[in-house]
């Protein structure tokens, strides 16, 4: 496999990651969100392995396997178990309606392309073109956390944001040192457990996972 073909396949994977990021942004059903999140993790894992192969940096294989285990299997499983235990079934309420969210998302993609254009000029890596997509994924994750009211969806947005950061690291510098990556992976796992405990706490206190309910915590003026 030549480097240019690897770069092409990586571009396609980057496009798929961007597509899943948009999918997460507009998806209404919570199980659909989980599936999309798992797909995003899968594309990320394949892309990481591909970059590792093309660049000859073999520690990326380990982070690829780590991504596969954590973001495709373990985290969706934990979230799924949480959703079943919390008995969440209804469709998710978004703050802004779907077409507007899409348009904001498109604007964010253009913004990140504009932002990363000078960096792309400087870089000589095969994967430099995917940096804009990585930044856009981060932005879209952030947008998802802003536009959704439900705590579980916000967590998925946070995890998608982390996916974007990970993708940025692989595409901009061929990955962080392995120690850092292991640390981040562990962090995410711990975070997922903490979220789980928090969900139960929020629900027992407010009898809902709608974070707007937390406005009650404010003291009256």
């Amino acid at each position: 496999m030549t480097t240019s073909l690897a770069a092409q396949i990586n571009s396609v994977l980057a496009a798929l990651i961007l597509l899943t990021a948009f999918g997460l942004l507009v998806q209404r059903r919570i199980y659909g969100l989980l599936h999309l999140f798992a797909w995003q993790g899968l594309f990320l894992s394949i892309s990481t392995a591909l970059v590792g192969y093309a660049a000859g940096s073999h520690h990326l294989y380990i982070s690829s396997i780590l991504t596969l285990a954590l973001k495709v299997i373990l985290l969706p499983y934990i979230l799924h178990a949480l959703i079943v235990r919390l008995q969440i079934r209804k469709e998710i309420e978004a703050v802004v309606n779907v077409p507007t969210t899409m348009l904001i998302g498109i604007a964010l993609v253009i913004f990140s392309y504009h932002l990363t254009a000078p960096i792309m000029e400087l870089s000589t890596l095969v994967t430099r073109s995917t940096l804009a997509v990585a930044l856009a994924t981060v932005m879209l994750g952030l947008l998802m956390m802003i536009t959704r009211r439900h705590a579980v969806t916000q967590i998925i947005g946070f995890l998608a944001l982390e996916n974007g950061l990970f993708f940025a690291a692989t595409s901009a510098t061929y990955g962080m040192p392995l120690v850092v990556e292991l640390g981040v992976a562990l962090d995410i796992l711990i975070a997922a457990f903490v979220f789980g405990i928090f969900f139960f706490q929020i629900r027992t206190t407010f009898e809902s996972l709608d974070v707007n309910q937390m406005a009650k915590l404010k003291e009256e003026d």
Partner: protein
């Protein structure tokens, strides 16, 4: 003046006129098979059209010239579009006169007059159908143009013949932009042709119909022309997709290429019909207020395609 562009032009128009009802027949046939029914055969739409030509025209008393003129205009526009799209060969007499944007405008003219005719008689259904059709049009046209622009960026030209040549003969590159544009195009084609999940062409149920509501008052040869034109529109959208995304095998200015191009066209349409039926069988018709979301995602895909051309290629 060279004669073979003219000959291929005439051959192509005749092919579109005859193949369009057969393509619809094929779609209905596959649908019947999937749903465990017996199909009426490949040529039933063709027989329906012929039957309608023999029927008497019933006109409403208050029908104006718009109502009588629209079927001919819609049919004429479809034939003109059939002459512009390089379906069998890229070397057509009319292919140079118009590009993809003109094609979108041609379909818009046909739709404009159909909507006017729907309102002309003054029945409630006609007006309702027209307003719905225009709502869908206002959303699908930007997405359609965006998808065309994405393909044009790749081919560096809005001329359909040039697009077919560049994409068919260039080195094979994995292009995410074209994949996005194709996805957007499929969604737009479904909406523009009133297929499930946007509209159901087989129903005359009052509250759900869009295209059928506009043409409810037509009968006889008028109805035949409009039905024929809408069959051609679906055929033309399928072949537009083929030209822009799978142009391998389209002939280039010699009559020897035509038989191969014809066989490949049939094969591609065979697959396109099956794909369309699978989409239609897998989905339920959506509420009309979900259509903006459906077309919004088509616009999103087209824009993402354009962006990924700049970002990734």
């Amino acid at each position: 003046m060279k004669t073979y562009p003219l000959i291929t032009e005439i051959l192509q128009i005749v092919a579109v006129l005859i193949l369009a009802p057969i393509f619809i027949g094929w779609i209905r046939m596959v649908k019947c098979w999937l749903q465990g029914r017996t199909s009426a055969g490949l040529f039933q739409p063709l027989r329906d059209i012929i039957k309608l030509f023999y029927k008497e025209v019933v006109l409403a008393e208050n029908a104006s010239w718009i109502f009588r003129f629209t079927p001919y205009l819609v049919f004429g526009v479809s034939v003109l579009a059939a002459a512009i799209i390089p379906i069998l060969s890229t070397d057509l007499s009319l292919a140079l006169t118009a590009d993809a944007i003109v094609l979108v405008a041609l379909f818009a003219i046909a739709r404009f007059f159909t909507a006017l005719a729907g309102m002309d008689i003054g029945t409630a259904f006609g007006g309702m159908g027209s307003s719905r059709e225009m709502m869908i049009a206002s959303l699908s046209e930007p997405a359609m143009l965006m998808a065309i622009f994405t393909v044009s960026l790749v081919a560096q030209s809005t001329s359909l013949a040039q697009i077919a040549l560049v994409i068919g003969h260039g080195p094979f590159i994995l292009r995410p932009s074209l994949a996005f544009a194709l996805l957007a195009f499929v969604l737009i084609a479904i909406a523009e042709n009133g297929r499930i999940p946007v509209d159901n062409p087989a129903t005359h149920l009052e509250l759900t119909m869009i295209h059928e509501a506009m043409i409810l008052e037509y009968s006889g040869r008028h109805l035949a022309l409009i039905e024929w034109a809408s069959m051609m529109k679906l055929f033309l959208f399928a072949s537009l997709g083929i030209v822009a995304f799978f142009p391998w095998g389209i002939g280039e200015g010699s009559l020897k290429d035509i038989p191969i191009a014809f066989v490949l066209l049939i094969a591609k349409l065979f697959i396109a019909g099956i794909v369309l039926v699978l989409i239609e069988t897998g989905l339920a018709k959506m509420r009309i207020f979900r259509v903006p979301e459906f077309l919004g995602s088509a616009f999103l895909f087209a824009t993402l395609g354009m962006l990924s051309y700049f970002i990734l290629e």
